[in-house]
C-alpha cells in the first residue's frame, strides 16, 4: 500500500495492512487445495506454488521450495505429501487432513465418474480414437517433464548422474525388473557415489 493514499480513499483499518495474514482455517485450507487441484492439468505443483506463495501469501517462495524439496525426497506422490506437510504446519494434524482431503477428494470423484463411463463406453469406436490421440499427447507431456528435469544434469555435465539415470531406465523400462529390486541396488549406489563426490570436492 502507498503511504500517502489520496484522501478520497477509504481509510484502511490499522491491522489489515501490515500484519501477516492470519493462518487459514480448516475449511479455507480444504477449499484452497481443492481449487489448486482442479486447476492442475498434468500436475498440480505450478498451481500449488501460485496459490500458496503468490495468491494467499501463506508461505514465502523459499519456505515453499524448502517444503517441496522435503516432499520430493520422500517417497510417494509429492504434491499429496506437500498438502499434508503444509496443512499440518498451519493447523496441526487436522489442517494436514483438510489440505490432503481438499487436494484428493474432488479429482478422485471426477476420475471415478470417468472410470465408470470408460467401463461402459470404452469400446465405442469414436472414444477409442479420442483416447488414442490423447494418449500420444499425454506421453509427450511426460517426456517433456523428463527433458526439463534432465537439463540441469546435462548443463553440469554430471556424467555419473546420467549413467545412473540410463541404468535405471534400462533396468525398469527395457528389462522390466521389479521396482523394489532395482531401487534396493540403485539407491545405495547413488548415495555412496554422491557422498564420495561431495567429500572429494570439499577436501
Amino acid at each position: 500500500m502507498p503511504l500517502d493514499s489520496p484522501p478520497a480513499a477509504v481509510p484502511e483499518p490499522d491491522l489489515s495492512t501490515s500484519v501477516i495474514r492470519s493462518p487459514p482455517g480448516l475449511l479455507e485450507l480444504f477449499l484452497a487445495f481443492a481449487k489448486m487441484s482442479l486447476a492442475g492439468f498434468g500436475g498440480v505443483l505450478y498451481w500449488a506454488r501460485r496459490g500458496i506463495v503468490d495468491q494467499h501469501r501463506w508461505m514465502t517462495a523459499d519456505e515453499f521450495n524448502e517444503t517441496y524439496a522435503l516432499c520430493h525426497f520422500l517417497p510417494g506422490p509429492n504434491i499429496v505429501n506437500l498438502s499434508m506437510v503444509f496443512g499440518s504446519r498451519i493447523r496441526g494434524i487436522a489442517g494436514g487432513v483438510a489440505a490432503f482431503a481438499g487436494l484428493l477428494a474432488p479429482p478422485t470423484a471426477i476420475v471415478t465418474m470417468l472410470a465408470a463411463l470408460y467401463a461402459r463406453y470404452g469400446e465405442i469406436d469414436a472414444l477409442r480414437r479420442i483416447l488414442a490421440g490423447v494418449s500420444c499427447a499425454a506421453v509427450g507431456l511426460l517426456m517433456a517433464t523428463v527433458l526439463r528435469m534432465m537439463t540441469p544434469l546435462l548443463k553440469r555435465r554430471d556424467v555419473i548422474g546420467l549413467v545412473l539415470l540410463v541404468a535405471v531406465l534400462v533396468a525398469i523400462g527395457v528389462a522390466r525388473l521389479p521396482l523394489q529390486a532395482v531401487l534396493l541396488v540403485a539407491i545405495p549406489t547413488s548415495l555412496a557415489v554422491t557422498i564420495y563426490m561431495r567429500r572429494r570436492i570439499s577436501s
Partner: protein, 177 residues
C-alpha cells in the same frame, strides 16, 4: 475372481507397498503399476493401461489419479477409494512425521544429500514410464510425430497442457492418429 481372496486387500497391499518405493512421485511408479496391473495380475490389457493413463492426464488433479482408475477397474468404486488411499496415506503420514522431526532438529545435511542421490534415479524412472507407454501408444508414424511435437512444445513453452491433450483428442477423433 482373485485367487488371493478379497481384491480390496490386494489393492491396499499392492499400492501401500508401492508408494513407499515411489521415489520421484506417481509418474515414476508407472512402470511398476504397469508391470503389476498388466503382466503380474492381469487386471487389464496393455491398451487399457494406456487408456487409463490418458484419462488420468485428462482429469485435473495430482498425477496419482491413475491409481484410482486401476482400483476402479479391479473392484469398482470401493477399489478406486482403497487404491487411492493406500497410495497416498502411508507416505503422507511419513512426510508428516519426517517434517516434524526435521523441524525440531534444525538444519540437516541429509535431505540435500538424499535428494541429490535420488534425482537421477527418479528421472530414469520417469523416462522408463514414457518408454513403456510409448510402446503401446505410438504405433504409427503420425502418433510418434504427435508425441514428439507435444514433448517439444511442452518443453519449450508454458502453454497449458490441457490444450495439447485436447489437440490430441481432436486429431484422434478426426481419425488422423
Amino acid at each position: 475372481m482373485n485367487p488371493d481372496g478379497n481384491p480390496i486387500w490386494t489393492l491396499i497391499w499392492t499400492f501401500g507397498l508401492m508408494s513407499l518405493f515411489a521415489v520421484g512421485g506417481a509418474n515414476a511408479a508407472i512402470p511398476e503399476m504397469h508391470r503389476i496391473a498388466v503382466d503380474v495380475r492381469h487386471w487389464m490389457t496393455d491398451k487399457q493401461f494406456a487408456d487409463i493413463f490418458a484419462i488420468s492426464q485428462l482429469t485435473p488433479g495430482p498425477n496419482v489419479l491413475i491409481v484410482t482408475l486401476i482400483g476402479y477397474a479391479v473392484a469398482g468404486v470401493a477399489g478406486a477409494l482403497a487404491a487411492t488411499l493406500a497410495m497416498c496415506v502411508p507416505t503422507a503420514a511419513l512426510a508428516y512425521y519426517v517434517s516434524g522431526l526435521l523441524g525440531r532438529s534444525g538444519h540437516s545435511r541429509w535431505p540435500s544429500i538424499i535428494q541429490a542421490a535420488l534425482v537421477p534415479l527418479s528421472i530414469g524412472l520417469m523416462a522408463a514410464s514414457g518408454l513403456i507407454l510409448a510402446q503401446t501408444t505410438d504405433r504409427s508414424v503420425v502418433a510418434v510425430v504427435m508425441t514428439a511435437a507435444t514433448a517439444m512444445l511442452a518443453f519449450a513453452t508454458r502453454l497449458n497442457p490441457f490444450w495439447m491433450l485436447l489437440a490430441g483428442g481432436l486429431l484422434g477423433f478426426a481419425g488422423v492418429i
